[in-house]
Each structure stands twice: as C-alpha cells, then as structure tokens.
C-alpha cells in the first residue's frame, strides 16, 4: 500500500509549447517544473529560457529532462549545455522507436509491450518524484 501525500491529488500539467502559460503567472503555483529538451541547440535554448522564466516566477524546483538521447555525443552535448547554464539535469530518456509504434497503433506508450525503454526511464522518474514528495 502506497501512502498518499497529505495534499491529496497529484497534478500534472502539460503546458503550452511556448512560454505563454508561464508568462501569465500560473507557474507560481506549481511545485516543480520539468523542462524537456532534445539534443539540438534550439530545443536546449528554449529550455534555458523556460528555466530562467521559471526562476523569476519563483518555482522552487526546475529540472531538465533530456529526451530522445541516442548516444554519447547527444549526452555530452546536453551535459555540457546544462553545466554551462547552471541547469539541473536529472533525467535521461533514450530515443525509442517503439513509442512511435505505440502511438500509431492508438495505444498509450505505457501499455505497449514489451515495455519501451523510454517508459522504463519515465517510471524511474515517477518513483523518484514520489520519494522527493515524501521527503518534503
């Protein structure tokens, strides 16, 4: 039996692609922002701006989730970028063909079998978020 946090329901918000929701000030009432980036410059640059804005809005926890990581070159590009800009990189999700297959078939990635490696990485993220929440 998993103990529920005192706050009741967990809320997960899929934000608008741009920064609009953050700019309108709604971001202040989120406890954590996950900024998702891909290993190419414009995506990383977007995340840098998102993180900057989130800090201005007073979001306490801002962390970077690296997605679609194919190899060591992708990994070092992201690690270097995050280090250069003081971004907290916490999660790496591998590039995963089977996610596309799942979605083309109209299934949720989490229901796809065998379990896609990307889903396994997101499950680990969920477990860590729960541990952090219990500690808070």
């Amino acid at each position: 039996m998993v103990e529920r946090s005192g706050n009741g329901r967990d809320i997960i918000v899929d934000m608008e692609a741009g920064l609009e929701h953050l700019s309108r000030g709604t971001g202040k009432h989120v406890s954590r922002l996950l900024a998702v980036l891909e290993p190419y410059y414009r995506s990383m640059e977007t995340v840098r701006r998102i993180a900057e804005l989130a800090k201005e809005l007073g979001i306490a926890e801002v962390e970077v989730v690296a997605n679609k990581v194919r190899d060591g070159a992708d990994r070092s590009a992201i690690v270097d970028f995050c280090a250069a800009h003081g971004l907290a990189l916490t999660t790496e999700i591998p590039y995963d063909e089977s996610l596309g297959q799942a979605e083309r078939g109209g299934a949720a990635p989490i229901d796809h079998r065998p379990a896609p490696p990307a889903v396994t990485a997101i499950r680990k993220l969920a477990e860590r978020l729960i541990r952090d929440d219990h500690r808070a």
Binding site: I11, M15, A17, L34, A108, I110, D111, A126, E127, I130
Partner: protein, 111 residues
C-alpha cells in the same frame, strides 16, 4: 505534488506528461492530468480511446477565474465546485487518471 511540464513542440513533453501521470497512478497516487496545450494530445498518450478523446469538451473559460493572493501573485481557480467540473468536463483514463483539457476551443462556444 503539482508538476508542470514544458518544452518546445515536438520535444516529447506530452508523451512524458501522459506516461508520468499513468506511472504515478500505478504507484497508488491519485492523479489529475491537465492538458493546457493549444494542440491537445494528452488524452491519447494517457490511453483514452481515440473517439472519447476527440469528443472531450474543453474547459469553458468562465469556469476559471484569476484570484489575487495575499503575496501579490495570482492563482487560477475554478468558479464552480471542482468535483462537479471534473464530472462535467473531465474524462477518466486508465489507472483512474482524471483528465481535463484547458487549451481546446469548443465549437460554437464563447471560447
């Protein structure tokens, strides 16, 4: 916990949001997923049947209001009973993840 997920379009943020919501629910958490993207796709990633996802109503704007907080910030709140709002506009995805869609513009609605 209240977690926002942001990133450039195509970065996979919706896949991560939906999968994270289901994964948390499978760990015994009660989860509300909110699709605030103007191109709402979270329903499919959560595993809601396509037809049900398509027919979902966006949350009408007049059900939300901005409320000033003591610290000078503002907070978006429901103007109606939240449980009723979830009942009227929400969907229930597998693992009992509740979903509401905020970014969608309803046909014929005031928007």
């Amino acid at each position: 916990m209240r977690i926002a997920i942001a990133g450039k379009g195509g970065s996979g943020k919706t896949t991560i949001a939906g999968t994270l919501a289901r994964a948390l629910a499978q760990q015994g958490r009660e989860v509300l997923a909110i699709d605030a993207d103007t191109n709402p796709n979270l329903a499919i990633t959560l595993g809601l049947p396509t037809s049900e996802a398509r027919d979902m109503l966006g949350l009408p704007r007049d059900l939300m209001a901005r409320q000033a907080q003591a610290d000078g910030s503002s907070k978006v709140v429901f103007t109606a009973d939240p449980e009723q709002v979830l009942k009227d506009y929400g969907a229930v995805a597998p693992d009992h993840v509740r979903l509401i869609v905020m970014g969608k513009v309803n046909h014929g609605g005031a928007g």
